[in-house]
Amino acid sequence: MKLKLCCAAALAIFATAAHAQSSVTLYGVIDTGMLYQSTSAATFQPHAPNLGHVYQLKDGGIYASFWGLRGSEDIGGGYKINFKLQGVFNSTNGKFGLADTPGTTAIFNQFATVGVSGPFGTFDAGRQIIPMIYAMAETDVRGAQYFGSILTAWLGINQAAGWPGTSTNAPIGALYDSNALVYNSPKFYGASLALEYAPGGVAGQFQGGTRESAVLKYSNYGLNLSAVYYNGHDTNPFPLTYPAAPAVPATGLANNRFYYFGAMYTISGFSISASYGIGKNPAKSNTADFEMISGGLGYQFNPSFKVTSGYYYLKDRNNSANHSSEFAVGAEYNLSKRTKAYAQVGYVDNKGTMNQTIIYGAPVAPGESTTAAMVGIRHAF
């Protein structure tokens, strides 16, 4: 009898807890297409051999396929508690996306956060897509898409700086950071500020493995402006042969710095963008010091059809033989509110040991020119 009462009480508590929960949403996107690419490589090594042309079913022509759960609870006074669990998966083989340790995947590699939002702005703690990459996406006509954009350009300087592509731990800037504390301010006349600090959690090392970044943005009157500063300590401690060779111990070494300035202007159906970025390893600037320049032009014919193009130039400031220029153009057509079809073509001319890709996840042969074309479909659920 007592047990029964207990159960009833427990159920009642559960029931009230469920009421307080305002909403939970299950959502996601599947993005799959056919890709042709005129060169390919197995790795991002600077002298990786050209394995020839490739036809493949490819995930993520616009952005990666992903799914997630999110919810928020209104706690009154204009405050909400928010959570988000979100991860990419490869629609061609069902595998989860990369984690921050080489050779491992994570179910929720994009977001695993809990936070609070209110009149002060929003604050989220956990692994997340950090403000830096949004600042870049908002000042790129190609929107930091997976095919030929500021994202592939930025990844290009990361590859040149030694990123093997086997973890999300990029040596110049970051797309995702684990252990991140991110604050986003509300807008004041179109201006907003985002701050990130990620404690390293390294015993005996206050600076060990920490990251900090600041983003200043303006968005009004058809104009987006972004300024980014990112600094990381002990980035990419994993040797190429990890886990056979152990990770380098964290010492608090500042070895990952990135600056970026970008602008995008929208007038009538046209969008124009331009940006400039510098990424380097401040501890070893003689091995990693790169410049990134972009320009973009797009036209929106009607609410369901647009064409975007972008030009991306990378330069190794230590060795003028290493540079790369890429041009990409894409058309997107919305078949419905939740489904769009797309076709994209890209060309990259890599010189020296540069290996800027045309699409994320398909390495090209370094030092050669490569053409790629993709048609695909992106469906949201």
Partner: protein, 129 residues
Amino acid sequence: MKDNHIVELAVALLFVAASMNAWPQSGQPASGPASVPGASAMTASGAAAPATGRKADRALRRKVYAAIGKQKEISAGDIGVTAKDGAITLYGSVTDASQIDKVVELAKGVPGVTSVTNKLAVKKPLGGM
């Protein structure tokens, strides 16, 4: 060398393309000084008051942007507003379909707006559903 040339040409083309689009914008302030009373009277005699019309259009465009800019969740930098004698056309993108109606309502609510043509598209951000 030849490749460098292609790069330069591509960059030059982009800049030309970019500046061509920027012209209509920079051209508007340039026509501002022309709208001093005497000058505007002169142009007004030529056509149906285009200088004052453009000035009014510009002011209305600003007001529409100011109204949209007050919404914290909508990025007015992604939206292109054009005004022509009280008729507003909205271009560009928002991040959610529900924001389209919101922006249209905001534009309609601005005094002086006679009609709103909506050409806004939905553009999902990186990692956004």
